[in-house]
């Protein structure tokens, strides 16, 4: 298989396989989570489940102020990584080109300088978080193989993507192939690992909010 065939395969069949596993896995997991259900509570609700559930879903996206110094680093670096990752994912023009081809609609891109900063910050935050995970005795104790695996699977698309944009290390064809391949690995892994939190975090936030709302207490 020559480099062009390989690129064609990862853009075609490879992406189809990855997308199928990701979408099937996630739609199954999320819906299954929602349908798990709880026994209907016969108590009289003291507040709205839905309104409070949605409010918490949104509210919990922001930092809680009462954090220890050690927790602060994880939270700040975590935010930088997530924001940088999302900005790069959804606002780089090349990504919009791809999403437009799949979703049949698009949106305006952010300037390249903004993307560059977001990507660099995101990569730096990921490295800092990994170092912290290894150095900090508590975190190290808590970490298992999956933590390092998911870190690597998330880091590779960022790294190869950045190298691609800046033409670092390899030719465009090679880097584009590696980048798409790393994204496909990530997509395939998401439904089977804790990376599924990209959706389930909202389901669980809603659940927390809704159950608190039902009881009329602060979540």
């Amino acid at each position: 298989m020559n480099p062009q065939d390989l690129l064609y395969w990862v853009r075609g069949t490879g992406l189809q396989i990855a997308a199928a596993i990701f979408v099937l896995g996630m739609s199954y997991r999320m819906l299954h989570l929602v349908l798990l259900g709880r026994k209907k509570s016969l108590a009289i609700p003291r507040g709205s489940e839905w309104a409070y559930g949605l409010r918490i879903m949104w509210q919990r996206s922001f930092v809680l102020p009462e954090l220890s110094a050690r927790g602060k680093f994880t939270v700040v670096a975590g935010y930088i990584f997530h924001l940088g990752f999302l900005i790069t994912l959804f606002f780089l023009s090349q990504h919009i080109d791809m999403l437009r081809a799949i979703l049949k609609f698009g949106w305006p891109a952010l300037p390249r300088s903004v993307i560059d900063i977001a990507a660099i910050l995101s990569i730096a935050a990921m490295i800092a978080l990994l170092v912290h995970r290894i150095i900090d005795p508590v975190k190290r104790l808590l970490s298992d193989f999956q933590d390092y695996l998911t870190w690597a699977l998330t880091f590779l698309p960022l790294l190869t993507g950045f190298m691609l944009l800046r033409s670092i290390g390899f030719g465009y064809t090679t880097l584009l192939t590696l980048h798409i391949l790393s994204v496909e690995l990530l997509l395939i892994a998401i439904p089977f690992t804790k990376l599924a939190h990209m959706f389930s975090t909202f389901v669980s936030r809603w659940y927390n909010g809704a159950s608190a709302g039902f009881r009329g207490v602060k979540a």
């Binding site: 062009q4 997308a19 199928a20 997991r29 299954h32 080109d97 081809a101 390249r112 064809t173």
Partner: protein
């Protein structure tokens, strides 16, 4: 003094000065992307080179490659290279025809056995014994095997000879293949492109004459001097790519401002060729300079690699339908399994008897 068959002597006979020859070598060095100072070394080597015999076979092709080459065949500085080779057979260009033409090829192959350069353009049909393309009643397949035996090296001119090209595109009715698919025991140099840049052929010949060996090749057998970098690497619109400035249609403001054609399907980033520096039509320009993206014609399977107008990151197959089917299947599985779980739970509850002290 100089050998009478040497280039030095032949040039002197034609009244071409050493200075003119140095100028030619400067042009060759520039063409081959060698360090500009190497012109003097090229001159020294070329002056002593012997004329090699060249046999050119045209197979399943459109003659575009020969057309491309003959554009550099008018008596110009570049065409000096043709004073340095002896083109003994080219069925489109030669004056001889019929049996005489075939004989001249056989004679050259015999006289220079093991020494001649074999140039091939066009792919070779292999289906049904290769009946889909024949010359003088003989299949291309047969002719290639025969001519390859005595060749010092083979130059596959054009994407068809190099990678199969358009004849090999789906559904490939003639079972066309590239030269390298059939010949495994000879050095093969691929000069891909549809058509290839004429100056690249000249450059490769000059390199062979200068150094007596084939130039350094990439993993697809193409000379690195011309195919080592992408169109994108040397594109004058590259700064716009780096700034994220893209034309969205062929007639929008961005297109008029000469912005990058990436989103309009330009394959420049994944295409290895020298168009952006060597240019076409006597340096007039290259496709991107005319406002159209690169088609990637010097890469294998360029004809089957998705739309010429789809941007590079876009999937090359239908992902939308697959994702939709997967979403529905996943949801259905979740609903079905949840229902099953609930039914099981209910059955368990019904079958279950209250726990009593006796059970403990």
């Amino acid at each position: 003094m100089a050998d009478h068959d040497s280039l030095e002597h032949r040039l002197a006979e034609q009244g071409i000065s050493r200075r003119a020859f140095l100028k030619f070598c400067a042009a060759m060095a520039s063409l081959m992307a060698l360090p500009p100072g190497s012109a003097v070394a090229i001159a020294a080597a070329l002056a002593k080179a012997k004329r090699p015999s060249v046999i050119w076979l045209s197979f399943q092709e459109c003659t575009g490659c020969t057309e491309s080459l003959t554009r550099s065949h008018s008596p110009t500085l570049e065409s000096l290279i043709f004073d340095m080779i002896s083109l003994d057979y080219h069925h489109t260009l030669q004056a001889a025809s019929g049996f005489a033409a075939e004989k001249s090829r056989d004679d050259a192959m015999q006289a220079y056995y093991g020494k001649y350069l074999l140039l091939v353009d066009g792919s070779i049909p292999t289906k049904d014994g290769g009946v889909y393309s024949t010359i003088a009643g003989r299949s291309n397949l047969d002719l290639l095997h025969e001519a390859a035996k005595g060749a010092a090296a083979i130059v596959a001119v054009g994407t068809c000879a190099a990678f199969g090209g358009i004849p090999m595109a789906k559904p490939n009715p003639t079972g066309a293949v590239a030269v390298s698919d059939l010949i495994k025991d000879k050095p093969i140099i691929n000069i891909s492109g549809c058509p290839p840049i004429p100056a690249v052929i000249t450059g490769v010949l000059a390199h062979y004459l200068t150094f007596g060996e084939l130039p350094a090749l990439d993993e697809l057998g193409r000379p690195k001097a011309f195919y080592g970098e992408t169109i994108h690497d040397h594109c004058y619109r590259r700064p716009f790519y780096d700034q994220g400035k893209f034309a969205k249609t062929f007639d929008d403001e961005g297109a008029r401002n000469g912005w990058c054609l990436y989103e309009l399907g330009c394959k420049g980033p994944t295409t290895h060729n020298a168009c952006a520096t060597t240019k076409w039509n006597g340096g007039a320009g290259f496709p991107i300079e005319a406002g159209h993206g690169c088609l990637g014609c010097s890469e294998p399977n360029f004809w089957d690699a998705g739309s010429f107008y789809a941007p590079l990151p876009a999937p090359s197959a239908d992902v939308t339908t697959i994702a939709e089917v997967a979403a529905v299947t996943g949801a259905a599985a979740a609903v079905a399994l949840s229902a099953l779980d609930r039914a099981k739970k209910k059955r368990a509850q019904q079958a279950h008897e209250k726990l009593t002290v006796k059970d403990l």
